[in-house]
């Protein structure tokens, strides 16, 4: 697409209109978008076309459409984070990520559906209804960035942005057969990213290929003085790494604790095959032991709810968003109580209550305090493992896409789906999911996860591009080309 634009074979306006048409065709079935910004997208496309005609030097992604998770603020465009408490809110400012993608000339076509405040693994917790997996419309696309992943998978946009607090980019990428990356914590600014769990949240790119994803990653990353946790240093060249496609002599560590029991047979089979492919390309496969990972899920479901119970205190019905029960004589406290009851969904309330409990005096040391110490042990496990291997690998999720409603009444089963992705967030490192094929038993996509140390994001792209090239030549095309056709024309 980028080449066709540069050569003048197609204009950004044509490309954007084609994607808006595709959204009109298939989104009534997929429901990836909460808001489609037709006018804003066509305006940006026209601006890029004018700049190109004027002979200006443009970014390789200029004029390419993108779907934006509704957790990032975009000035003047409705932003809800999937919650009723922010229904109708129009941000007064652009998040840093949005400023950067606008400056690169990327065209934002709309805001995508998500689990409310990114709390969930299926996009079923959105206050605006679920998103459906383009591979099988009776199944979830994963979550919480399910709308973004489904939009890319359904050819509604070639690129998307999500956020990943416990796997919310990598797991939906796996379940929809695309590439998704959670960058190193601090590599992408959190300014304008509506907070769920501040020490774990990180926005990142989705694409249909490793190189597309790298190009978008490169636009998003960088130091931002508006985010005090933003890394101020030299950023790795992920685009060069994605063009390298070479794993000769690299050491790849298989995490003993993240495979085998509990993993669907088709998931394990595709994972094992991908390992053989990497070995045949000249990588050395070693097994590494991360004993503390067994406790990662428990630690995550204490730390994230604790941070969210504090972060979501800002939704107090006073300055923006929903206000309920503001009748004559009603107190501020009763208005807050009523608004937060009406505005928050069930899962959000469950996590706020759990966090409130874990932080309350008398329980703090036993729950939140212990979870923070487990976090230290997980960081130490990674440090030991990365001393033996350049990257670590595992299946991205234990299963392929599950049915809508299958786990929605069983929070523990839902939480278990994040078991392989959560350790990355707790340690603040980076991870990628890329397609490893289809599981034999259900013909649904399987994700292969690659993990690298903090600020070594380039390694993800180097290994990912090598594996992708080998698999694509084996399959005779990208996995996404095997997705069933949806209503409209491609």
């Amino acid at each position: 697409m980028s080449e066709a634009l540069a050569k003048g074979e197609v204009t950004s306006t044509q490309l954007t209109q084609a994607h808006l048409d595709r959204i009109k065709d298939v989104d009534p079935a997929v429901k990836a978008f909460l808001h489609v910004d037709t006018d804003g997208a066509l305006e940006q496309a026209a601006r890029v076309d004018a700049d190109r005609s004027a002979g200006k030097t443009l970014h390789p992604l200029a004029g390419i459409p993108l779907a934006l998770k509704d957790v990032l603020t975009q000035e003047g465009v409705p932003t809800t984070a999937g919650s009723k408490i922010l229904q109708g809110w129009k941000p007064q400012y652009d998040s840093t990520v949005v400023s950067k993608i606008k400056n690169a000339g990327i065209v934002i076509v709309g805001k995508t559906n998500m689990d409310e405040f990114a709390m969930g693994s299926s996009t079923e917790n959105s206050a605006y209804g679920p998103t459906f997996n383009p591979w099988d419309l009776t199944r979830t696309p994963g979550g919480s960035s399910g709308g973004s992943a489904a939009a890319v998978s359904a050819f509604e946009a070639p690129l998307a942005i999500g956020s990943d607090t416990g796997g919310s980019i990598r797991q939906p990428a796996a379940l929809t057969g695309i590439v998704g990356v959670r960058p190193t914590y601090g590599a992408v600014s959190r300014y304008g990213l509506i907070a769920y769990s501040s020490s774990l949240d990180q926005a990142g790119p989705f694409g249909r290929t490793v190189l597309d994803t790298a190009l978008l990653h490169d636009v998003m990353a960088g130091h931002d003085p508006k985010d005090a946790t933003s890394i101020n240093g030299a950023f790795p060249d992920v685009v060069a790494a994605a063009r390298k496609r070479d794993v000769k002599g690299m050491k790849i560590g298989v995490i003993k604790q993240l495979q085998g029991e509990g993993y669907q047979s088709g998931v394990q089979a595709r994972f094992d095959e991908s390992l053989q492919v990497l070995a045949s390309l000249g990588a050395q496969i070693v097994e590494v032991d991360c004993p503390s990972f067994e406790y990662a899920l428990a630690a995550y479901y204490l730390i994230a709810p604790s941070e969210c119970s504090s972060n979501l205190a800002r939704f107090d019905a006073m300055r923006y968003g929903l206000r309920v029960g503001d009748s004559d004589g009603a107190s501020a406290e009763s208005v807050m109580n009523a608004t937060r009851n009406a505005g928050f969904g069930h899962e959000v309330k469950r996590r706020i209550i759990l966090g409130t409990y874990a932080l309350s005096s008398g329980y703090y040391d036993a729950y939140y305090g212990s979870a923070q110490k487990i976090r230290t042990l997980i960081i130490q496990d990674y440090a030991k493992a990365f001393a033996q291997a350049d990257v670590l690998v595992s299946p991205t999720a234990p299963t392929t896409a599950f049915k809508i409603g299958e786990k929605s009444n069983d929070p523990i089963a839902m939480y278990l789906g994040d078991v392989a992705t959560i350790p990355v967030n707790l340690a603040g490192i980076c991870g990628m999911s890329l397609p490893a094929g289809l599981a034999d038993e259900d013909n649904l996509p399987v994700g292969f996860q690659i993990m690298a140390p903090a600020m070594q994001d380039a390694r993800l792209y180097q290994v990912g591009s090598a594996l992708e090239a080998a698999l694509v030549s084996q399959w005779g095309g990208h996995l996404i080309s095997k997705a069933p056709a949806l209503g409209g024309s491609k």
Binding site: D326, A366, K373, T376
Partner: protein, 99 residues
């Protein structure tokens, strides 16, 4: 087996400023034991002498120059307000007594 009563959940909901229906209190209380058992696994590990991690980056004290930057106009700042009056946020009464 951990458990939390309906009244415990009601107290936590009060602290979190969420007014919950009776049905929701009962349903949350019934799920809470299971969730607490799952997360209580963090106590199964010997954590003696392990330092807690609150944040993955070793960043400390990030300062910036004390200079004025452009910010939102009052109109922009109030554009999302549920209620406003005389260029201010209008909020419900915050003290106990009637007007």
């Amino acid at each position: 087996m951990s458990s939390l009563s309906r009244d415990d959940v009601a107290k936590l909901a009060g602290l979190a400023r969420i007014e919950m229906s009776e049905e929701e209190l009962v349903s949350l209380a019934s799920q809470f034991g299971m969730i607490l058992d799952a997360v209580a696994r963090v106590q199964d590990v010997d954590l003696e002498g392990v330092a807690p991690t609150s944040h993955p980056q070793p960043i400390r004290n990030v300062f910036r120059e004390d200079v004025v930057h452009p910010s939102l106009t009052p109109e922009q700042a109030l554009s999302g307000a549920p209620a406003q009056e005389e260029q201010r946020f209008r909020v419900p009464q915050i003290l106990g007594e009637a007007e």
